[in-house]
Amino acid sequence: MSDTGVIPTAVKIVIAGGFGVGKTTMVNSVSEIPPLRTEEVLTEAGVGVDDMAGIEGKETTTVALDFGRITISPRVVLYLFGTPGQNRFWFMWDELAVGALGAVVLVDTRRLDSSFPSIDFFENRDIPFVVAVNRFEGGFPHTDEQVRQALDLDSNVPIVSCDVRDRESSKDVLIALVQYTMDQLAGV
């Protein structure tokens, strides 16, 4: 790429959901680079460390973030971040949410309850999200309406079915999210 002097605008899509639901797999499917991992240092209380003075003696913990990248154009780059575990790491969720154009909440129908915290998080912050049902073998047959009821979703939140191991299927989820974000803007 030539040095045009352009510094792109960066945006994020957050991929959320319970442990083992397929977040990293989805990032892997659509990213143009092998997914990367970076670590944030947090205090025991779960707050980010931005000052290393005197930290040697303190109890800290690290939280790993998996992410991928899609270069949209020389002017726009999209990052996909998988969320770290729920509960302890809300600080990281807040950081991920800044600048996110929206979120995907991945759902495993065998463990619907594990997606409640993610849904609450994005609802409370008015961040547009779609629910993507990852089709694991042995998942319970269900209709979108059953999922909507079980998750207590607003009638306009899109529900899409996907196989996160498949690039086209994962792309469809992202497309549904951006489309939904645009619809929200247009007040549809």
């Binding site: 960066a10 945006v11 944030e40 497309i175 803007l185």
Partner: protein, 123 residues
């Protein structure tokens, strides 16, 4: 690049000892606005790179095309807080430049979102 990550978890030595050394004692980023996706690019006019540590040089090399803070941290295999400190040094020296901070207006712009949509369709 640090090949093994054991140092990070070496409790006997204490966490953050090595990254602390890497930042030459700097403890907090001088540029407080760096976030995960802030874009960093090498400047065309740079100071004497031989004065820099290998980690600083590596960042300048990586950023011949714009990269996010998170990517830089991942490629250097250092925690984000360390990457932010090193990048702050380079910003102060003028060896790299950072993209504008995030603006909400970006993501509530229909044209912008349409470009993102088209970009996703192309991959």
């Amino acid at each position: 690049m640090a090949g093994d990550r054991d140092w990070w978890f070496d409790e006997a030595a204490g966490p953050l000892i090595r990254p602390y050394a890497m930042t030459r004692g700097r403890t907090r980023p001088g540029a407080p606005n760096l976030n995960l996706v802030t874009q960093i690019r090498a400047s065309r006019n740079r100071s004497d790179l031989s004065q820099l540590t290998p980690e600083h040089q590596e960042i300048v090399d990586l950023c011949h095309r714009p990269l996010s803070v998170a990517e830089i941290a991942a490629y250097l295999n250092v925690p984000l807080v360390v990457a932010k400190i090193l990048i702050s040094d380079l910003l102060e020296l003028g060896d790299v430049v950072a993209g504008a901070p995030f603006q909400t207006s970006d993501i509530v712009d229909t044209k912008f979102l349409q470009a993102v949509l088209d970009g996703i369709r192309r991959i």
